[in-house]
Symmetry: C2
Subunit: 253 residues, 2 copies
């Protein structure tokens, strides 16, 4: 049985808590957070503490706090023997002061109060010490079927790729919503298309799945669309995407 302490009370902390709370192999021995209020959403079967000097002993400490607080929080754990991991996609493993350190990065977008099935969430792990890597791997495999050992450099690139796949994609959704609302149309009209677009690339490479005016170099449709766009940033994005898509498939046209 592995004992863990979760440090943090945000979305990631809460989702990890819920996943490990069901485990028979891992026991959450404490949840630590700065303010008592945000601890309230957690189950009351696990001891809470808002005193970073009172953290109990455990096999693994999972720091699930904001990126720029990780280094500071890890100082409270400097004297502990257990493995200290953070859950960030972009922070250096070596930001953690403990010599026995690692990374436990669940690659998913977490929404408050929206349950997720952890089994299918990729967990990207890394550890300074080989023995610790085995423990972190056990921890990952306890809640997910997809545990990947990757390097810090790979993780940084993966985080960058995730910004394109998640943050920028969401901004495109946001633009499409604006265009609908300006025309008095419900965003509901686009929701099935958006879901199907994401489902499609679960089995087909996005390179193969590409369609649209830019893909087939349909200059007339592109001109029509540009004449409809009034917003400067939306126009710039439309032009840049059309150029990038055209360039990507140039040899095939």
């Amino acid at each position: 049985m592995l004992s863990i302490v979760i440090v943090g009370t945000g979305n990631v902390a809460k989702h990890l808590f819920n996943a490990f709370a069901k485990s028979e192999e891992v026991k959450i021995v404490q949840v630590v957070g700065r303010n008592q209020n945000s601890l309230e959403g957690f189950s009351n079967i696990v001891p809470f503490s808002n005193d970073f000097a009172q953290i109990v002993d455990a096999d693994v400490y999972i720091i699930a706090v904001k990126d720029d607080a990780i280094a500071k929080v890890s100082q409270s754990l400097a004297s502990k023997k257990g493995i200290v991991v953070h859950t960030s996609g972009s922070v250096e493993m070596d930001s953690i002061v403990s010599p026995n350190r690692g990374v436990f990065y669940p690659l998913q977008t977490f929404t408050k109060d929206k349950a997720l099935d952890f089994k299918s969430i990729p967990i990207c792990i890394e550890a300074k010490q080989d023995e610790s890597l085995k423990v972190v791997q056990m921890l990952g495999e306890d809640i997910s079927e997809k545990v990947y050992v990757i390097t810090s450099d790979q993780r940084k690139k993966l985080h960058l790729a995730a910004v394109f796949a998640n943050n920028f994609t969401n901004h495109l959704y946001s633009i499409s919503e604006s265009i609908c609302l300006q025309e008095g149309l419900s965003f509901e009209l686009l929701q099935p298309l958006i879901l199907e677009t994401a489902k499609k690339i679960q089995s087909i490479s996005p390179k193969e799945a590409q369609t649209g005016p830019a893909r087939r170099n349909d200059k007339k449709s592109i001109q029509n669309h540009l004449s409809l766009l009034k917003d400067k940033k939306q126009t710039e994005l439309y032009i840049l995407f059309s150029e990038a898509i055209k360039k990507r498939y140039e040899e095939e046209l």
Copy 2:
């Protein structure tokens, strides 16, 4: 009972065929296509023709061909009494020569051999004559629970919004795949994130759902990402998205 002829043998034609083939209210009386080979995928219970001079009489003719072929195909139907509709998001209703014309635009991305549940696919309709609108609406409601009467201007804007939500989004997936492959990482790592990002906006407005370095104006992460990007178009997109997201939420920061 409504009788329909489907003109076209591509993805949209085939998906509409499969949807109406199950109907008890609509009868497909003929499928018309240029070449015999592409007609093969259709059920053999409906008569096929590759002779546009031999199109039979029907209540509605659904032209599901490439945008730039719609006007020409509609000429073969000029003498017919039935309603002639096309299925395009961007072509003028008036491209159809018949006076009794309309639009039957299913807003979805169709993949060959990938079954879709038509019930949840929005169908945007329009008709030149009020009486015909009722018939086109019946046709839509026969296969979908989401039939919207919209104008040609609204449809053009909707098609533009769909390019952002589908084509450009897919290109972002494609970029994220490239970044993974360059690092020797499987694109499987990002698939659950992509699906969850699309699921999230089924219940939350994308404007509310926005996260990431640009959203919180995290200049350090943005600089780190830019230093990792080598491709010029990817860099341009990263900068433009970050500026656009920052601008959108400026008043809130």
